[in-house]
C-alpha cells in the first residue's frame, strides 16, 4: 500500500470516528439534561408541590398547584382554538382548494410558524389584553393556540394527502358525497398521523413561556374562571429560577422536571402512535 493511500485511509478513519464523537456529544446532552433535572427536581417533588399554593416571599412550604391548573386550562383553550383551525384548514387544503389558494394558505401558515414566540406575545397583547384591559387565561390560551395552528395545519394536510386516491375514488363510486367521504373514509385513514400532529403541537406549546408573559401575567392564588390572570408552569420556572431563594430554586427544578416529563412523554407517545400505524411518510 502506498504511503499516500495509507494516509488517506488514516484520515478517513479519523474523520469518521470524529463524526461518531459528534453524534455522541449531541445525544449525551439530552441525557445530561434529563439527568440534572431528575437529580435536582426529583428530590424536590413532593406532595406540597402539587397541592399547595405559593406562600409569601421568603417562606417555605409552598407549591405550584395553581400553576399546574393554570397551564392545564390554557393548554385546553389553546387546543380548542388551534386544533379546529389547523384541522379544518388542512381538510380545505387537501380536499377542496385550488393551487394558488393552497400556496397562499401554506405560505401564511409557514410564516406564522416562523414568528418568534415573543412577537406572538406582542400580537396577543394588542389583540386580546389591551382592548379588554384584562390579563387573562383566555389571552394566554389564544397566544398558545396561535402557535398550534400552523403545526397542526401542515402536518394534518400531509397526512390527508398521503391517503391513496383509491380510497376517495372507491367511496365516490359507492355514492358517498364529498363530506361523507372525508368524514368516514379519509380522516379515519389518516387519524394516526393527525393525532400525532396534534400531540406534537400540544407538546410544543406546553413549554412556551414568552407569549404568556404579556397575556396571562401571573397569580399567587387560584385563578377563577377564564378572564383572570393565571399562574403557569413555564412562567413560574422562569421567575423562581432567577430569584435568590433556595426553596424557589428547588421548586423550579421540580417544575422543570414535571414539565419536561410531560413533554417527553407526549412526544414518545406521538411517535409510537405513528410508527404503529400505516406506512405514512414522516413530515
Amino acid at each position: 500500500m502506498s504511503p499516500r493511500l495509507r494516509w488517506r485511509k488514516l484520515v478517513s478513519g479519523f474523520m469518521l470516528t470524529l463524526t461518531g464523537v459528534c453524534a455522541l456529544v449531541a445525544v449525551s446532552v439530552l441525557f445530561l439534561i434529563l439527568g440534572y433535572l431528575v437529580y435536582h427536581g426529583g428530590t424536590s417533588i413532593s406532595w406540597n408541590f402539587f397541592t399547595k399554593l405559593p406562600v409569601p416571599v421568603g417562606e417555605t412550604g409552598g407549591g405550584m398547584a395553581n400553576a399546574i391548573l393554570g397551564s392545564a386550562k390554557m393548554l385546553l383553550l389553546a387546543s380548542l382554538f388551534g386544533v379546529p383551525f389547523g384541522f379544518f384548514g388542512a381538510i380545505y387544503l387537501a380536499e377542496f382548494s385550488g393551487a394558488t389558494t393552497a400556496f397562499v394558505v401554506r405560505y401564511a401558515a409557514d410564516l406564522l410558524n416562523g414568528v418568534p414566540s415573543i412577537v406572538i406575545g406582542i400580537f396577543a397583547y394588542s389583540l386580546v389584553v389591551h382592548p379588554f384591559r384584562q390579563y387573562s387565561t383566555l389571552a394566554g390560551g389564544f397566544a398558545l393556540g396561535l402557535m398550534m395552528i400552523p403545526i397542526t395545519l401542515r402536518s394534518t394536510e400531509e397526512f390527508l394527502r398521503s391517503v391513496p386516491n383509491d380510497f376517495r375514488e372507491g367511496a365516490m363510486a359507492l355514492g358517498a358525497s364529498k363530506w361523507k367521504t372525508i368524514a368516514t373514509v379519509i380522516v379515519p385513514a389518516a387519524y394516526r398521523g393527525i393525532l400525532t400532529a396534534v400531540l406534537l403541537a400540544f407538546a410544543r406549546v406546553a413549554g412556551e413561556t414568552a407569549p404568556l408573559l404579556f397575556t396571562a401575567l401571573g397569580n399567587q392564588f387560584w385563578s377563577s374562571g377564564w378572564t383572570q390572570p393565571t399562574a403557569s408552569l413555564p412562567v413560574m420556572i422562569y421567575t423562581y429560577a432567577l430569584a435568590p431563594y433556595d426553596d424557589w430554586h428547588r421548586q423550579a427544578w421540580a417544575a422543570g422536571l414535571v414539565l419536561l416529563g410531560l413533554i417527553l412523554v407526549i412526544n414518545i407517545v406521538a411517535r409510537a402512535i405513528l410508527s404503529r400505524g400505516m406506512a405514512v411518510p414522516r413530515s
Binding site: 484520515v11 410564516l111 414568552a210
Partner: protein
C-alpha cells in the same frame, strides 16, 4: 365552504399580525427612520432609542451558536446517515428529536445553574489564559455574556441541523456514493467530497432553519446574556438581544415611543426570521428536486 373559512382565517390572522406590528411601531419608525438601525443609545429617560446593540447581540449570539452547532451537527448527521446501522441511526435520531422538544425556559434554568458557573470558574479563565491576546476573550469573566448565550443556543439548535441534514444526506442517491467508491475513494472521501456537496443545498437549508430559531429565542437567552445593551468585541461581555429586551421591557415601557420602539424591534426580528425561513425552504426544496431528478425514488 366552512373549511375555506378556517383556512382563510389562518391567512387573515397572519396578515393581521404583520399589520399590528407595522401599525404599532408607526411613531418610532417616523421619528427615527433608518437611524434606528445605526444608533446604539437606548435611553428611556431621554427618549432616544437605537436598535444597534440588540441587533448586534442577536447576530453575535446566533453566529457563536452556529460556529459551534454546525460542525458538531453536520458531523453527527454524517455519522447517522453514513456510518451507523439503520437501527442505531433511528434510535439516536429519536433521542435527538426529543432534544428539540425541550422548552426554552428549561435550557435557561440549566444555563443559569450549570453553564454560567462553569463558564465563570473554568472556561472563561482558561480561554483568557490561552487566547487572551485576542480582543474576543478579554474583559472580566462574568459567567454570563455573549459566549454563554451562544453556547446555550448552540445546544438548542443542534437537533435541527442534525435531523434535517441527516434526511438530506440519506436522500442522496446510492449511485453517487458507489461511483466515488468505485473510483478508489476512501469512505470519508466519498462522503465529504461527493455526498455532502450533493446535499449541500439541504444542509444550508438546515443551517438557515437553525439560524432562524436562534434569532428568535427569548427565555434561554435573557437568562444568560447579561441584559446590558453593549456593543463589544469581547465575547465575555454582557449583551442584549432583541427578543430579550422585548421580554424585559414590554410590560413596563412607559411612554408610547418606548413601547413602539420595542414593537419596531419585534418587526425587525419578524422580518429577519421571515427571510431566513424563506431561504431555508427554497434550499430544501432545491435539494429534494435535485435528488428526484436523478431518479431517486
Amino acid at each position: 365552504m366552512i373549511t375555506f373559512l378556517f383556512a382563510a382565517s389562518v391567512v387573515l390572522v397572519t396578515v393581521l399580525l404583520v399589520f399590528e406590528l407595522w401599525q404599532g411601531s408607526v411613531l418610532s419608525r417616523h421619528k427615527f427612520g433608518f437611524n434606528f438601525f445605526r444608533t446604539s443609545v437606548w435611553d428611556p429617560i431621554f427618549e432616544q432609542f437605537g436598535a444597534l446593540p440588540f441587533i448586534y447581540g442577536t447576530l453575535v449570539t446566533a453566529a457563536v451558536s452556529l460556529l459551534i452547532a454546525v460542525p458538531l451537527g453536520i458531523g453527527a448527521a454524517i455519522f447517522l446517515a453514513e456510518l451507523a446501522p439503520a437501527r442505531v441511526s433511528d434510535t439516536l435520531e429519536f433521542f435527538i428529536d426529543l432534544l428539540a422538544a425541550v422548552p426554552s425556559v428549561i435550557y435557561g434554568v440549566l444555563g443559569i445553574f450549570i453553564v454560567v458557573p462553569l463558564m465563570r470558574q473554568y472556561i472563561q479563565p482558561a480561554l483568557k489564559h490561552s487566547f487572551g491576546f485576542l480582543p474576543l476573550f478579554q474583559g472580566p469573566a462574568y459567567g454570563v455574556g455573549f459566549l454563554t448565550a451562544g453556547i446555550v443556543l448552540a445546544i438548542m439548535v443542534i437537533p435541527y441541523i442534525i435531523s434535517v441534514s441527516r434526511e438530506v444526506l440519506l436522500s442522496v442517491p446510492r449511485d453517487q456514493r458507489e461511483a466515488a467508491l468505485s473510483l478508489g475513494a476512501t469512505h470519508w472521501e466519498s462522503t465529504w467530497k461527493v455526498v455532502v456537496p450533493f446535499a449541500r443545498a439541504g444542509i444550508f437549508g438546515s443551517i438557515f432553519l437553525a439560524l432562524a430559531r436562534a434569532l428568535g429565542e427569548t427565555m434561554a437567552v435573557t437568562m444568560v446574556i447579561g441584559n446590558n445593551p453593549t456593543i463589544s468585541a469581547s465575547l465575555f461581555s454582557p449583551g442584549y438581544s432583541i427578543a430579550a429586551v422585548i421580554a424585559n421591557e414590554f410590560t413596563e415601557a412607559t411612554g408610547e415611543l418606548h413601547t413602539q420602539s420595542l414593537i419596531e424591534l419585534g418587526l425587525v426580528l419578524f422580518i429577519l426570521t421571515f427571510i431566513l425561513n424563506g431561504f431555508a425552504r427554497l434550499l430544501m426544496v432545491a435539494t429534494s428536486q435535485r435528488g428526484s431528478r436523478l431518479g431517486h425514488p
